[in-house]
């Protein structure tokens, strides 16, 4: 037997490096509050990664019902079978919970763009060893289980997200819909996604490998994934603990394929397609961002002629971060309030002034009266004196 040269060992070398280095994965969860984002994250990684919002805390923060959209980042290192993964989970609390949700997507979209830009800048540095990479590899968008269709707000933000990240739509709390309702809902969402040109992430179909192709196909068919989250475990049979939700009318198992698509989603996110998510972020979304960004900076005038839109957008982009339309609204409101206050005060002062003038006038007339009286008295005194004499 001839000894192998050893070229075939390259994958193994690679394997060693990777397993020593570990990996980075950034996951964003986005959607209205109260759709179980936190629970889902905790269910997905089977740890208490993200603490729930303390209700008392919420009331401390929540002095007015109005909320702003925040970006929360949670960093964690997970270890499974000695393999480490640095996990970043990005949450967007406050999205969609106001009366006016216009531009509430801006902070989220800006955040994603910022990460791309940061990364790009780091790449351009002379020494670029320790790069901080917080580019979002996958974004789960949680859809409220209304049973109707997507809301305009959902569509709007999904459109924006889909050009920037790998977007995976997820139907939250799907245990409120019966299978028939869920099917209808899913097909409507799929129709909208198609009609509105929203690019959701689709796992690649590897034609060489029928098994994985079949798996991908299953995943594509199940989109958007209906999920249920739970952090509690219940004993279904002796010694057998299963995550689920215990209702008075039955027990919903998170990892039961008949109940929800949680398993499929987990497989998509972690087991089979994580690498693809990371790579496609780098190759597709980051490249697009980079080419737009650099393309614009270099040959400005050439592109302006043909499609002014792109230029306009990216040139607006930068100042826009400081001119959040939300702040603008607030500013306007404050200004209005201020002018009103000033007007009211002025009105008051004017009133005061007229009062004072009136008072003066009255006093003057009083004075005159008095003087006249005095004169009359003097006159009479004189007369009397004259008479006396």
């Amino acid at each position: 037997m001839v000894e192998l040269v050893g070229i075939s060992n390259l994958p193994n070398q690679r394997y060693k490096i990777i397993s020593n280095e570990g990996a980075t994965f950034t996951l964003m969860v986005c959607g209205e509050s109260g759709l179980g984002k936190t629970t889902f994250i905790n269910t997905l990684f089977q740890t208490n990664l993200k603490p729930h919002l303390d209700p008392n805390e919420r009331h401390n923060k929540f002095t007015t019902p109005h909320q702003t959209v925040d970006i929360d980042i949670i960093r964690a290192v997970l270890e499974e079978k000695n393999f480490k993964i640095r996990l970043n989970v990005i949450d967007t609390p406050g999205f969609g919970s106001n009366v006016n949700n216009h531009d509430s997507w801006t902070p989220i979209v800006d955040f994603i763009d910022d990460q791309h830009e940061n990364y790009m800048k780091q790449e351009q540095q002379p020494s670029r060893e320790a790069k901080k990479d917080l580019r979002v590899h996958a974004c789960l968008y949680f859809i409220r289980p209304t049973g109707h269709s997507l809301k305009p707000l959902d569509i709007e933000i999904m459109k924006r997200l889909s050009t920037r990240v790998n977007l995976i739509p997820v139907i939250a709390k799907s245990d409120t819909m019966s299978p028939v309702e869920l099917d209808n809902f899913k097909s409507r969402i799929r129709d909208i996604i198609e009609a509105q040109d929203i690019n959701i992430y689709t796992p690649p179909l590897d034609l060489d490998d029928p098994a994985s192709a079949e798996h991908s196909k299953q995943l594509i068919e199940a989109m958007p994934f209906a999920v249920i989250g739970s952090e509690q475990e219940y004993e279904v049979s002796k010694g057998n603990f299963v995550k689920g939700r215990k209702y008075p009318w039955g027990f919903v198992e998170v990892e039961n394929e008949n109940h929800c698509d949680f398993k499929k989603l987990r497989s998509l996110l972690l087991r089979t397609n994580m690498l693809d998510l990371v790579l496609s972020t780098n190759e597709l979304h980051f490249e697009t961002f980079r080419s737009i960004k650099l393309g614009n900076d270099e040959n400005n005038d050439e592109i302006v002629n043909e499609n002014g839109e792109v230029i306009k957008k990216s040139s607006i982009k930068k100042p826009r971060r400081f001119h959040n339309p939300k702040f603008k609204e607030e500013e306007d409101a404050l200004k209005k309030y201020f002018t009103e206050q000033v007007k009211a005060e002025e009105q008051r002062f004017r009133q005061w002034e007229t009062n004072i003038v009136n008072e003066r006038y009255r006093l003057n007339s009083d004075l005159e009266e008095m003087q006249a009286k005095l004169k009359a008295l003097e006159e009479s005194v004189k007369k009397l004196q004259l008479g006396k004499r």
Partner: protein
């Protein structure tokens, strides 16, 4: 759950007071309620399961699906634009390509008549609000609902003040609004709070946790607590079940008090709705029973199971025990306060329209103050007149009003304060006389007022218009003018709204046209570029053909090379720009959908 009070059978109208019973039985009880809440919170399903028939059509189901016709009574689009493809107008067809457009809000009215076991007719009017909460800016939603509720009050008010009333007038006021809270597990949202706060002036609000089957028992308890905390914290005025407790007799109405206490305790109601019926076999008795339920792979949810759903309690509250309470409260409290406010506003203005030669500021204010207090209701008049039984009181009243006016605006301080003083001095003498008068006519208080006023009138011309005769005139005038003023205001409002809408639509259409033109121009430019490329390619091809045919070696070869290079470059450019173009298209799209 607490079972201190047992809801056996939600008998429909049988428990409403006996006084109303006979009249109601003949004419049928009229009751209107409104369901408000974000879309997808189960409003339609709730209404349908409440009445056990298909009253409202589900979204995307088509109009023909419902048994009863519902008509759209009011409609606003989010951008004040009436465009043909705005989805609310055709909300029953599912159209994915327009799903990104804000639906605005519509109010639809559905009338149903149901007959219960006791053969009592119940005429229900259900107002639905499709589109609520679906817009980017949902301010428009509650403005529209508020407007509608006000309009109903105005109609009633106009009818009431008319001299000749319309015998067939239909009261369209909404008696209760069910507010569906989205089951998010955290608490109320800004939308919920501001909507309820704003509308509570016009309607009784019962908050309801919809789709309670998304909570486990502990979660539901927690959420209820949170909602209660929020309601308290933000002072959301909701319908209180226990506010009438003090009026009941402790012994006689013991059950009623218990009931109210219980209801107040379990509020907000958590409900599950379903239209599907299932046959269930009772494991103990072996009898089959038809229940409304939701079928999940993991179990069957019975919507009337008191363990986890307050559906049957809410049903009995709405259609039985509290029906009359809700109606009375709407009329006696909400409508009455609206009426007072409204009439003060209208007559305050109307009073100035009536041309009296008001020369003195003091007099006109005096007159208005009296107008405000006396005119709005006859009961007030009686009160005032009884107060006026002793003339000293009236004088007191005058001096106090005078002094408050002085406090309010110092401009008229001493110069005008002299006047009433002098009046008082003048009146001092006759007031003694009138006191005598008043003492023996005190039984007929209006007359005493008349006389005391007349007394005043004879002594001081400034009080002339307070005499009863002009007041009657004024009442008449009010009843003549108020309905028209109200209607006029409404028409003006409508007109303004329509004008705004028209302007906005014109603008929107113009911008859309501009966008389309731009797109067309872009496409043309692209086509031209493509043609150019095609031409160049042809040329290049020809050149190469020529080059090959002449076989003229190096020089031509470089030319060809140059050509191909330029071609390549152009190709690259084109593909590049086409990517861009697609991007711009999506951006354009988003721009179109954004105002």
């Amino acid at each position: 759950m607490d079972d201190s009070y047992n809801f056996e059978s939600p008998s429909m109208v049988a428990s409403s007071p006996m006084i109303n019973y006979r009249k109601d039985a003949r004419k049928g009880v009229k009751f209107s309620f409104m369901v408000v809440g974000e879309s997808g919170t189960g409003k339609t399903t709730f209404v349908n399961s409440l009445l056990s028939q298909k009253v409202l059509a589900h979204r995307f189901e088509g109009d023909h699906a419902s048994v009863v016709d519902s008509k759209t009574i009011s409609f606003t689009s989010a951008k004040n634009v009436a465009l043909p493809n705005t989805s609310i107008l055709q909300r029953n067809d599912f159209n994915p390509s327009t799903a990104n457009e804000e639906p605005g809000i519509a109010l639809t009215e559905t009338k149903v008549e149901i007959v219960d076991e006791a053969n009592t007719k119940l005429q229900l009017t259900i107002v639905d609000t499709p589109g609520y909460g679906d817009n980017f800016n949902n301010e428009v939603c509650f403005a529209e609902i508020e407007n509608y509720l006000k309009q109903q009050f105005d109609l009633m008010l106009a009818e009431e003040t008319k001299i000749r009333r319309n015998p067939r007038f239909v009261d369209t006021r909404i008696h209760v609004m069910l507010y569906f809270i989205t089951p998010n597990g955290h608490g109320l949202k800004e939308l919920d709070i501001s909507c309820m706060k704003r509308l509570s002036k016009y309607v009784n609000i019962i908050p309801v946790i919809s789709k309670a089957d998304s909570f486990t028992e502990d979660e539901l308890k927690f959420f209820k607590k949170q909602v209660k905390v929020d309601i308290e914290r933000f002072n959301v005025p909701i319908f209180q079940f226990d506010n009438l407790i003090d009026e009941y007799d402790e012994e006689e109405d013991y059950e009623l008090i218990q009931e109210c206490k219980y209801l107040a305790k379990i509020q907000p109601f958590a409900i599950i709705g379903s239209e599907d019926e299932f046959e269930v076999k009772d494991t103990k008795t072996g009898q089959t029973q038809t229940i409304k339920a939701r079928q999940y792979p993991w179990g069957l949810v019975d919507i009337s199971n008191p363990k986890y759903s307050d559906f049957s309690i809410l049903k009995s509250v709405l259609l039985g025990s509290h029906l009359q309470d809700l109606k009375d409260l709407t009329h006696d409290f909400l409508y009455e306060s609206y009426r007072t406010e409204r009439l003060t506003r209208v007559t305050g203005r109307g009073g100035q329209d009536v041309d009296y030669d008001d020369t003195e500021f003091h007099d006109s204010t005096d007159h208005q103050v009296n107008l405000n207090t006396t005119i709005p209701s006859m009961s007030n008049l009686a009160q005032l007149s009884s107060a006026g039984a002793s003339n000293g009181h009236i004088l007191d009243l005058h001096s106090t009003t005078g002094s408050t006016i002085n406090d309010d605006s110092s401009s008229i301080t001493s110069s005008s304060s002299k006047k009433p003083k002098s009046m008082l001095l003048d009146d001092a003498d006759p007031s003694v006389k009138s006191k005598d008068n008043a003492s023996f006519t005190s039984s007929a208080s209006t007359i005493s007022l008349d006389q005391s006023r007349n007394n005043l009138n004879t002594t001081n011309p400034a009080f002339k218009r307070l005499s009863i005769a002009p007041q009657r005139n004024q009442l008449r005038q009010i009843s003549e003018t108020v309905p028209y003023v109200i209607r006029h205001e409404r028409i003006l409002e409508r007109q303004q709204k329509l004008e705004e809408m028209e302007m906005a639509s014109a603008k929107e259409l113009a911008s859309r046209a501009a966008l389309l033109e731009k797109k067309a121009a872009e496409l043309k430019a692209r086509e031209r570029a493509m043609k150019k490329i095609a031409l160049e390619r042809e040329q290049a091809h020809e050149a190469s053909v020529v080059a090959q045919s002449t076989t003229n070696g190096v020089a031509d070869e470089t030319v060809e090379g140059d050509e191909t290079i330029t071609q390549n470059g152009q190709n690259g450019n084109i593909s590049h720009s086409s990517i861009r173009k697609e991007e711009t298209l999506t951006d354009l799209h988003s721009m179109v959908s954004k105002p």
